[in-house]
């Protein structure tokens, strides 16, 4: 990935974030700071979403993930923060 990472929070992301609440906020801050600095940072698990081209996820702690959608505008590519939701990685 080249150039600075750009992100845009969607209306759905804002709604889901408000629903999840403050306890997760600091982990969201850490994940977004790391993502902007270097998306490939180990631990973020930046990966393509299965069967949905253009969608990706990053991990927020062990129990949440942010859904990202690759978009672009006149200034270049950016990631839409499409949603955030519970994703327990401990099942398997």
């Amino acid at each position: 990935m080249t150039g600075p990472v750009r992100t845009k929070p969607s209306a759905r992301f804002l709604k889901s974030l408000a629903k999840i609440g403050q306890p997760v906020a600091s982990r969201v801050a850490t994940a977004l700071e790391r993502f902007h600095a270097a998306p490939e940072t180990p631990g973020l698990n930046f990966e393509a979403f299965k069967n949905r081209p253009g969608f990706f996820t990053i991990r927020v702690g062990r129990n949440f993930r942010i859904l990202l959608k690759a978009e672009s505008d006149e200034d270049g590519p950016y990631f839409l923060l499409a949603d955030i939701a519970d994703h327990d990685d401990t099942y398997s």
């Binding site: 850490t30 700071e33 859904l67």
Partner: protein, 169 residues
């Protein structure tokens, strides 16, 4: 349009199987009652093993109907429903540990119930995974259809966190 009946059915009648206390039931009672409980357990395991495919099939139908009908199903409701069931099953984590202990003891004693314990644990985990993964498929599906809103694009994480009203770390 509501949720498809097969999905509601696959989720609704899961409760008795979820609540069966495998470990406790095999540790108590006479040999005859234990045999009876083992037979019941086999039925429950067989039922649990069919769940992921049933839930998957119902969800595929839901996604297909959403593709065909522009009005679409109530995705929010479906996502919430899947999460409710996932959470309800997750609350059984201590119970899973009991089964693991029972399995270890059965293995040490050469008891064939070890195979049933294994199947129960695998089926249970498979259901949790399918509920989680299908919920996320619906979340992505919904994200494809929704308009993104009018928030600005940020190239600085601190500006983004300020907009989100999250204090930086």
């Amino acid at each position: 349009m509501g949720l498809p009946q097969p999905l509601l059915d696959a989720l609704r009648d899961m409760e008795p199987a979820e609540r069966f206390d495998l470990a406790a039931s095999l540790q108590e009672g006479t040999e005859a009652s234990r045999r009876k409980k083992l037979a019941r357990l086999r039925e429950i395991v067989q039922d649990l093993e069919t769940r992921p495919a049933r839930i998957q099939a119902a969800m595929n139908a839901l996604l297909q109907s959403a593709d065909q009908e522009k009005t679409g199903p109530d995705l929010d409701q479906a996502i919430d429903l899947l999460f409710e069931h996932e959470e309800a099953m997750r609350k059984m984590a201590p119970h899973l540990e009991d089964v693991r202990v029972l399995k270890a003891r059965a293995a040490a004693e050469g008891d064939p119930v070890v195979n049933l314990c294994d199947r129960w644990l695998q089926a249970f985990t498979a259901i949790l995974e399918v509920l989680r993964d299908l919920r996320w498929e619906l979340i992505a599906f919904r994200a494809e259809a929704e308009t993104p809103g009018d928030a600005p694009v940020f190239d600085d994480a601190q500006d983004l966190l300020g907009y989100l009203k999250i204090p930086p770390k």
